[in-house]
Symmetry: C2
Subunit: 500 residues, 2 copies
């Protein structure tokens, strides 16, 4: 017993050190996006590499392997939480040690090459020059799955990397049902005569935008004593609950972009701040995965911050801050602008309703690529047909089609589905929260978000990795994950606006 | 030959890694002062500790010892630059490996305890509670010197830690000569009827201050593509030439504090940016020591930025930025405010003329403490007598006397003299530069600082650690370091203003 107690304690010490080094790497990354002088890029890359080497050495220290072997041999003597810690430490240790150094180097080099090849191909709308990169990345992904004993199901391995416990078969079933409901709904909304005005928001001074989004994100619960928000080219959220670094970007003529991306990142930040603060180095205090993370960011961004109740509280404040800019904008026009729908070929420009179809498209193509039923050279054609079928739009060239996203250039397959899983989960959490607390929107209208955050803290955040995505949905809502809630939510919110 | 070539190359690889880890630690420190959320302090301390452990392991890797042994055994086959690299790597390696882990731990703990004891003692002006800390710190310093084979001259060891090559005997001779000239000069200036107006500068908006100091520091040569300036409680400069992070602080009613502290830090930054950019990991691309560093910051802050030529160029710009605030201030009043002299008991508030006496005071007491001719319990009395003799002022209590500085609480003995060595060196460099380039101030008056920076780059910055403080002075000016230039400078600049 002392044996496992000591081993568990020693394992914790080592995991804590590895996590601290990882968190320093995150700070380097944040600083790179927020503060780095233009000519300091090469120096930062060298710092990253030196730290990564150190962090990898900490994670792959054979002593961790020995401690895990001791603990696994006496697993029955461990508490259930200890067993979870050990199980996840094993997974991380295997991923840190089972890939040959030569493979890791090859993959890193290919990632860098791939990025530049993609950027060049996108600029020239030239898929042919990019095809060999994709083929190589697919091959590397399959080899990686093989090293981890997952050669039989490499796409499942890639999905599980981002969203532990998830698989292509589960996603396919969910997405098929979602698609069946969503495609006709998008057709209905697109055909509506009601359109949000595109020219509504002009000349919003950045300083006032900053003050307003700070007020909003603080009000919904972000703890600025343990985090900050700064400016970068693309918004993101990094760090751990002990020190969250979020970013946003400002455009005087598009204040809603800044505001909603800030609320989105705040959703991520609230999740991290809600994880057990003394367990960030173990599975007990770490996020369950990307799907769950996205459910938190999307719930706050969409279900909450696009609701009538939310704006009942914040619209008067927004109008006080921007009285001149909004003097000719009615409340109805304003609310419609917040919930604008307009199909586009570009995923990152997509609205809440059509976004999910962009994800479905990518999932279906990835799945076929891994299954070998679609060749890389046939990707553009398959993409364009799918875009027409799902979105009713056909790319004029591959720049607005298959070449639009950076992800695959770095081998990040299996990443996209998490966005849509997050949306489905967010909607399901939302309706369950409403069933427990029907007055939720009235509370929002009074600027009170505490019940919802408290419930998420208890049901989702405090769980860490004890449950995976599907387990957390079951735990929080008592039902299996289903797209019906997202379909219901979109129909209720957008139907009311566009299908009157 | 291949043997040493390989060993030298391998040594460089390891030094580079250690330097990168150190630079990450500096970034953590910068971020802590500039960005850290209030409740993230403990997390940052843990990050620091994890990184320090890693950096120490990199520095003290036995492989470095083996490589050094190989290179030292064949030192004659090395170029002179390689020999310098090896000599300094040996010094750093010995300092990283010769202190027992137990001692390092004891010292770290004592440093933390010492800081809190000092803060408490200062608050209560209670020296007695602080005396045991000082005694312990003295003992630790002596033990540390012993581990490094310097038991016979522990104060020299402490001085050399901050300013390599310098010793108490050299400093004593310099300071005695300085004191003999400076004490009577301070008396003369203090007795002058001419006084700078203390109420001159009020209501300078921070944003305009920021823009102005940015213009000034860029004009004198700071490369903002490889550095930045931000805000912290106390100004500092950190990082390497690849990415310099400076800070300043703003007070609407004291724009000169912000401006001159920024120029001071810019002097440090220019030195770092002038070091060989591909050799930051070896002695060839590292600063020679604190005294030389301070000579660069002080030269730009004082000799340059308090000169008539400098303000001939910048005063019109300053008046454009702050026309309202300066409308009743004449040019003479403005220039006198820039060169205000007013003896004070507090070192950090001291002007350029009296500052050096604060340093002399501390040096003389440190020297006696280490020699055993002054007991810690007698420090307050000795301090007060010295303050009266040097500054003509006697502290009302120990808060404005022996307890004012933090340095000794952490065992940083031998640190203070560098400030004054830097001032002497700055003045000597200045007059030598003028002898080579008599039109220097006329160039400043046209906003042209390139000759001076170019000369410093060549004579000081590009040398790295090839020469020590005294060697650099000899190299740049052809003479031994002497206080006569500082005395001449102070008399010329301040005599002209106060002793008309």
């Amino acid at each position: 017993m002392t044996n496992t107690t000591d081993a568990f304690s020693e394992l914790n010490t080592r995991l804590r050190r590895a996590q601290l080094l990882d968190s320093i790497g995150q700070l380097l990354g944040w600083d790179e996006q927020v503060n780095l002088p233009a000519d300091s890029v090469a120096h930062r890359a060298a710092q990253h590499a030196a730290l990564a080497e150190t962090a990898h050495a900490a994670l792959s220290d054979p002593k961790i392997g020995e401690l895990l072997a001791v603990l696994e041999a006496q697993v029955k003597t461990l508490t259930s939480d200890q067993q979870i810690v050990v199980r996840w430490a094993r997974r991380d240790y295997d991923r840190a040690t089972k890939l040959p150094a030569e493979f890791v180097r090859e993959k890193a080099e290919q990632g860098s090459r791939g990025y530049h090849a993609w950027a060049e191909a996108k600029k020239n709308a030239d898929f042919a020059s990019y095809a060999p990169v994709l083929e190589k990345n697919l091959e590397l992904a399959k080899r990686e799955a093989g090293y981890l004993g997952q050669a039989a199901a490499p796409y499942d391995y890639m999905i599980d990397k981002h969203d532990p416990g998830m698989s292509a078969a589960v996603i396919e079933k969910l997405f098929d049902e979602l698609k069946a409901g969503l495609v006709p709904f998008v057709r209905e909304v697109t055909a509506s005569k009601t359109k949000a005005r595109a020219d509504l928001m002009r000349g919003f001074p950045v300083e006032q935008q900053r003050a307003f989004l700070r007020e909003v994100t603080q009000k919904i619960g972000f703890n600025y004593e343990r985090g900050r928000i700064d400016v970068s080219l693309h918004p993101f959220c990094s760090g751990t609950g002990a020190d969250i670094r979020m970013t946003t970007r400002f455009d005087a003529d598009n204040p809603l972009d800044s505001l909603f991306s800030s609320i989105h990142e705040t959703g991520h930040g609230l999740y991290e701040q809600g994880l057990a603060s003394d367990q960030h180095h173990t599975a007990l205090g770490q996020a369950a995965g990307m799907g769950v993370h996205e459910s938190q960011s999307r719930l706050w961004e969409n279900q909450v911050a696009r609701s009538r109740g939310f704006w009942k509280f914040f619209e008067p404040k927004f109008r006080t801050a921007f009285s001149e800019q909004l003097k000719d904008v009615s409340s109805d026009e304003f609310y419609l602008a917040i919930n604008a729908v307009e199909p586009t070929l570009i995923r990152v420009d997509a609205d809440e309703v059509t976004y999910n179809l962009h994800v479905v498209l990518r999932f279906e193509l990835e799945k076929k690529l891994f299954a070998g039923t679609l060749a890389v050279r046939d990707l553009p054609k398959a993409w364009n047909e799918s875009a027409q079928a799902l979105l009713g739009l056909t790319p004029a060239n591959d720049r607005e089609g298959v070449l639009q996203d950076v992800h695959w250039s770095d081998g990040a397959f299996g990443y996209f589905p998490s966005y849509c899983i997050g949306n489905m989960m967010a909607a399901q959490l939302w309706y369950h929260a409403l069933s427990l607390r029907p007055q939720l929107e009235e509370e929002f209208a009074r600027g009170d978000f505490t019940w919802l955050l408290g419930w998420l803290r208890e049901m989702i955040h405090a769980q860490g990795k004890r449950l995976d995505t599907l387990g957390l949905v079951r735990h929080a809502t008592g039902e299996e994950l289903s797209p019906k809630w997202l379909l219901r939510y979109l129909r209720e919110r957008y139907g009311a606006l566009y299908l009157k």
